[in-house]
Symmetry: C2
Subunit: 422 residues, 2 copies
C-alpha cells in the first residue's frame, strides 16, 4: 500500500478510538471550531475553488459538471448552515434503548456505537467535503476523503480549515483527512484496506461501480448512479405531470436524483399534454429530447425538435439537459422497463389512479419511490434527515439517503445478576 494511504488510515484509526469514547460536547465543539475557521478562511477557500473552476473550464468540462464544482458565496453560506444544522442534531451515540427484560430477569439493551473509520470516494463537489466530514464527526467516526481530481484545490483548502478547527477543539486532526493521491490506485487501496477501513462509500458512475465489484474487500455502501425515471400514467393530470417532469429534469440536472428517462403511457403520449410538456422542456428548459417513434409523432406535428433515442440512451445517466423518452402500453411495461434499466435509485409515478400508484410503489425496487412528486425529493434534507452522506443504492444497512444513524451500528448490552443458561 501507498505510504500516504497507510499513514492516513493509521491516523484515522487512532483518531476513531479517541472519538468512540469522546463525549458529545467535545464533538460538537469540534464542529463549531471548524465553522469558525471556515468562516475566517472563506476568501482562501473561494480562491482555491476559482482555481479549480478555471482549470476545469480550460479542460472543457460541461455545464452541469461545472455547476457541481462551483462554490460561490451563497453555496459557502449554505455549507456553513449545513454544518450548524448537523452540530445541532441530537447525538446518535447517546441512544441506549431497552429491548426488554427476559423471563430470567436479564435486561437487554441496544447501544448505538460508531462504525469506526469511514472513507468516501466522491465526485468533484466540494460542498460534499464538509457535509461528509461533519456527519462523520457528529456520529463519532473518523473519515478519509477521496474527492474528484477537479476539486483538488478546493478540497485541500477545506480540509486544512477543518483540521485547524479540530486542533483548536483539542481533537486529533486524524478525524478528517484527505487523500492527496487522486489516482484510481488510491481508490483501490481504500477498497482493499481490510481492517483499516470499516466502511467505504463510493459515489459515482458505472466505471467506479465496476471497480467496486472487482476490487472491494471491505464493507461498501454504494451511492451508485441515478438512472431516474418518471412514469406518466394514463390518468395523470396534465398540468401536474408537466410541473413534475420539468422540475425533475431541469431544476438541477447535474445531480443523481435528476430525471434521466421519461416513460409515457401511450394514451397520454397521444394527448395534448405531451407536446405541451415537450415544448416547455425544449424552449424554457433547453432540454434535448431523445424519443421513441410513438412519442415523436406529436412532436413532429408541432415542429418540436427531437432526435431518435438509442437503446443505450435508456442506460445513460446524462447528468445534463438531455432526456430519453419512451412510450409504454401499460403500467406493467413501465415496471418492466424500470426493472431492466433502473439503477435502484429513484422512480416516480404521476397518476390519479390510486391502485396503479400502489402497485408502482410496491413493485419498483428503488431506494425511493414517489407518487405525484418530483424525483428531486430523494435527498436527505428534503426527506427530513438533515444532511446526508450519500444515497445508498445498495440494500444492506441503508437504502436511500444516509444520515447520521446510517453511520452507526448497534451492539447488544446485557445486564444480569448472575444468570446462566440451562
Amino acid at each position: 500500500m501507498d505510504i500516504d494511504v497507510t499513514a492516513v488510515l493509521a491516523g484515522a484509526r487512532t483518531a476513531s478510538r479517541t472519538l468512540a469514547v469522546s463525549g458529545e460536547l467535545l464533538r460538537r465543539q469540534g464542529l463549531e471550531s471548524i465553522e469558525d475557521v471556515l468562516r475566517a478562511e472563506r476568501t482562501k477557500v473561494l480562491a482555491a475553488n476559482a482555481e479549480d473552476m478555471e482549470a476545469a473550464s480550460r479542460e472543457g468540462i460541461s455545464g452541469a459538471l461545472l455547476d457541481r464544482l462551483l462554490l460561490n458565496e451563497t453555496r459557502f453560506e449554505a455549507m456553513l448552515k449545513g454544518l450548524r444544522e448537523v452540530a445541532a442534531l441530537p447525538d446518535p451515540l447517546s441512544e441506549m434503548r431497552k429491548v426488554g427484560t427476559r423471563p430470567n430477569g436479564l435486561e437487554v439493551f441496544r447501544r448505538r456505537v460508531p462504525l469506526g473509520v469511514l472513507a468516501i470516494v466522491y465526485e468533484a463537489r466540494p460542498n460534499v467535503t464538509i457535509e461528509a466530514a461533519s456527519l462523520a464527526l457528529k456520529s463519532g467516526n473518523a473519515i478519509v476523503l477521496r474527492g474528484g481530481r477537479e476539486a483538488g484545490h478546493s478540497n485541500a483548502a477545506l480540509v486544512k480549515a477543518a483540521q485547524r478547527g479540530l486542533n483548536q477543539a483539542g481533537l486529533p486532526t486524524g478525524c478528517v483527512q484527505r487523500l492527496e493521491n487522486d489516482s484510481r490506485e488510491s481508490v483501490k487501496q481504500l477498497l482493499q484496506a481490510v481492517g483499516g477501513v470499516d466502511l467505504v462509500i463510493p459515489r459515482g458512475g458505472p466505471q467506479l461501480m465496476a471497480m467496486v465489484d472487482e476490487m472491494a474487500r471491505v464493507p461498501v455502501i454504494r451511492h451508485g448512479q441515478g438512472i431516474t425515471h418518471v412514469f406518466v400514467d394514463e390518468s395523470a393530470d396534465s398540468k401536474m405531470a408537466e410541473e413534475i417532469v420539468f422540475n425533475s429534469k431541469v431544476q438541477r440536472p447535474g445531480v443523481c436524483n435528476a430525471l434521466e428517462t421519461l416513460l409515457l403511457n401511450r394514451q397520454w403520449a397521444l394527448s395534448d399534454g405531451w407536446p405541451k410538456l415537450a415544448r416547455r422542456l425544449v424552449r424554457e428548459g433547453g432540454v434535448q429530447l431523445r424519443v421513441d417513434s410513438t412519442s415523436a409523432t406529436a412532436l413532429a406535428r408541432e415542429g418540436i425538435p427531437c432526435s431518435a433515442a438509442l437503446e443505450s440512451d435508456y442506460r445513460t445517466e446524462f447528468l445534463d439537459l438531455v432526456l430519453a423518452v419512451r412510450t409504454v402500453p401499460s403500467l406493467g411495461d413501465a415496471l418492466a422497463h424500470i426493472a431492466e434499466y433502473g439503477s435502484h435509485h429513484t422512480a416516480a409515478i404521476v397518476t390519479a389512479n390510486r391502485q396503479n400508484a400502489e402497485r408502482f410503489l410496491q413493485e419498483v425496487d428503488a431506494s425511493c419511490v414517489l407518487w405525484n412528486a418530483s424525483t428531486r425529493f430523494n435527498d436527505g434534507g428534503e426527506l427530513g434527515l438533515a444532511a446526508e452522506m450519500g444515497i445508498s443504492t445498495s440494500k444492506l444497512h441503508a437504502y436511500g439517503p444516509m444520515g447520521l444513524r446510517e453511520l452507526t451500528t448497534e451492539k447488544f448490552v446485557v445486564c444480569g445478576t448472575g444468570q446462566v443458561r440451562r
Copy 2:
C-alpha cells in the same frame, strides 16, 4: 460458474420475485406445509442423520463437533417448534411506517422489503438448515443453503421435505434450495455471484473468513468465530463468577458463544475463588486448562492439573472442553487483551463494581457485551428475537444475532399532490 450453482441461483431469483409480491398468508401456509411434511418424514430425516453421524465417527470427529451434527428426537421436536414460532411471528413486510409530513405536504414513509436472494454457508449443524429456511421464507427472501459436508445426508433429507412443503402450498421450490456441491469452489461461486445473490452469510472459522476477505464480491455479513471472553474483576462475587464461567464454558462447548479465554484480575486469581472454580471446571466439567504462570500458582498448590498456555491459545476458538486462562493486572489490561485477541463476538465481565462494568460495556467492541451473565446468552432466542440466522460479527446492517428484521431493508415511499422542488 458451475452449472449447478447457476441453475440454483436462477431458480432462487425467480422465486424471490414471487415471494416479494406474495401475501403473508401464503408465506405462512408454506411454513405450515413444511412442518407437516417434516413431521411425516421424521424417520427418514433421522435415518439420514444417523448415516452422517456414523460417517463422522468413523472419521474421528471430536465430541463437541459430533454434538453439533446430531439430530435426535428432542432436537427434531425443537426444530419443529422453532418453525412454528417463526411462522407465528408478526410479518416483517407489512410494516410501513410514517417518517413524517414535510412542510410542503409530502408524506414520507419507509416500507420494509425483502433483500431478495440470500445464501448461507454454515457448519455441519442440520438444525440450522430449517431455521435458516424458515426465517428466509417468513421475510420474503429465497435462500440457497450450503451446509457443512458432514451433514450432507441430513440436509438433503431436510431440504427435500421443505421443497415438498413449498410445493403443497403452491410456492416455487426455488424458495429453498441446497447446493449439492460442497467443495470450497461452490463457496467461492456464491461469494462472487454479483447480481445473483443479495447477501451471503458465511458462518465459520478463520479459514472461511480469510476466503471471504479474499473472494467476496457480493454483500456479506460474517458470522465469524467466537473468541469469547469472560473477565472476572477484583470485586467479583466468587460464587457468581464460578457459576458464570462454568456455564459459559461447559454448557455447550461446541458453539460460538461458548467461553474460550478466561481473564482473571490478579487479586481475584490469588483468592480462594480461583482454585475452587478451576477444580470444578476440571473435575465436573472435564475441562483442560491452559494457564499463564500467575494463575498456575494456586493450581499447582492444590494439585489441579493444567498446562502452560501458548500465545496461540489466546487466538484459538477451541469449540471444545479446553480453556485458555490469563491473569491481568487491571480492567484496562483486560480491555487491551480483548481488543487484541477478541473476534467482536461476545465478552462478559463479572464484577460488583458498577463503574468498571460501565466502562467494560462501553469500550468492548463486540456484538454482545454482558455484565454478570453467561456468554451463552448471545443468542437470538435468549435475547428475545425468536430464531436467528446467525450472529453478525460484522458491524454493517447487523451486529449480533440476526432475526427477521435483519433479513429485510427499508425503502423510502413518498406521496405527494404535485410537489416540485424550489
